[in-house]
Symmetry: C2
Subunit: 206 residues, 2 copies
Amino acid sequence: MNNYPSTLLEQAVNEMSSLPGIGKKTALRLVLHLLKREPSEVLNFSQSFTRLRNEIKYCTECCNIADQLVCNICADKNRDRSVICIVEDIRDVLAIENTQQFHGLYHVLGGIISPMDGIGPSDLNIDQLIVRVSTGEVKEVIMALSATMEGDTTNFYLFRKLSDFPIKISTLSRGVAVGDELAYADEITLGRSILNRTLFEKNFQK
Amino acid sequence: MNNYPSTLLEQAVNEMSSLPGIGKKTALRLVLHLLKREPSEVLNFSQSFTRLRNEIKYCTECCNIADQLVCNICADKNRDRSVICIVEDIRDVLAIENTQQFHGLYHVLGGIISPMDGIGPSDLNIDQLIVRVSTGEVKEVIMALSATMEGDTTNFYLFRKLSDFPIKISTLSRGVAVGDELAYADEITLGRSILNRTLFEKNFQK
């Protein structure tokens, strides 16, 4: 139905709408916004993506995105090198860093096992994780993956891979979120939060 | 709070979030999506915007976006050249074209008069409109601007500019939208739809 008056416009709209969650109408709005900017601004806009894609490096230790060979977190001498938190991608690293409750290192898997999307264990940074754990420096591994079917599958796979090493393997606690009313919590979450109840003092020690 | 692990990533996120309606979190999601694509795909993505910005032309007749000097609609010999529909931007052209109810030509103002945003009559393609109307070929001008304060201001300004020419000046009908329940229509719209009521047959002739 949409007969764009220009093929250049059509191409730009198609490229923009190839991003997840951006439909044709939103894409057109964004592209028309770009058209109103200065050519030099649009050049900076475009180049930032090609530069990122071509020049980005991944930390040789934790597989996180980095500017150098080793990322800021892995290079930080003040962090506890005996604890590794396993996460799906860099957004989870940012989310956990924002809590300021974790002072160990990370390991970025680059995804989770999802047969539906054709992602198997070989597509993830699991070999590097085994190498890190086998050095003996690591005492605990925290599984911080999404509370979904795919996350649980990945948890289970990693647990089997890591169970031979003399390390503690823990996972994020599941339960009622802070601020939630019990009446609106779903059954499974509420059920788990009763089974995994914590001693009263524990919550206040933090 | 967000300490991105890479300045390249930070720049890309900042550029993406400079688009209207895209926040930092969405921008990060979109940029990480681009990172997973092939470098050649990202290059095509980026180049589509710079090419659009640098190579885009505007139709010399209706000021619409075009690949050639004259846009497809103005070049179409089958369209009624005696009626001009005045719209704010190219999205309105697409919306009206999709109705398949209009067979005349357009004139794209490139905005509406909005003192709050510093947009005055001289920033719009009004002079070109006067030139088109003064050729004598035009018999009717339809004002198809947004039903907002700025739209009404622009309507009034154009009406004064065009009132000296021997042409019919009309505007889009305002009223209850098709599919709306009366109980939920706002007072002003409902009031106007009573004042501007149409004869019963008219609705069925279409």
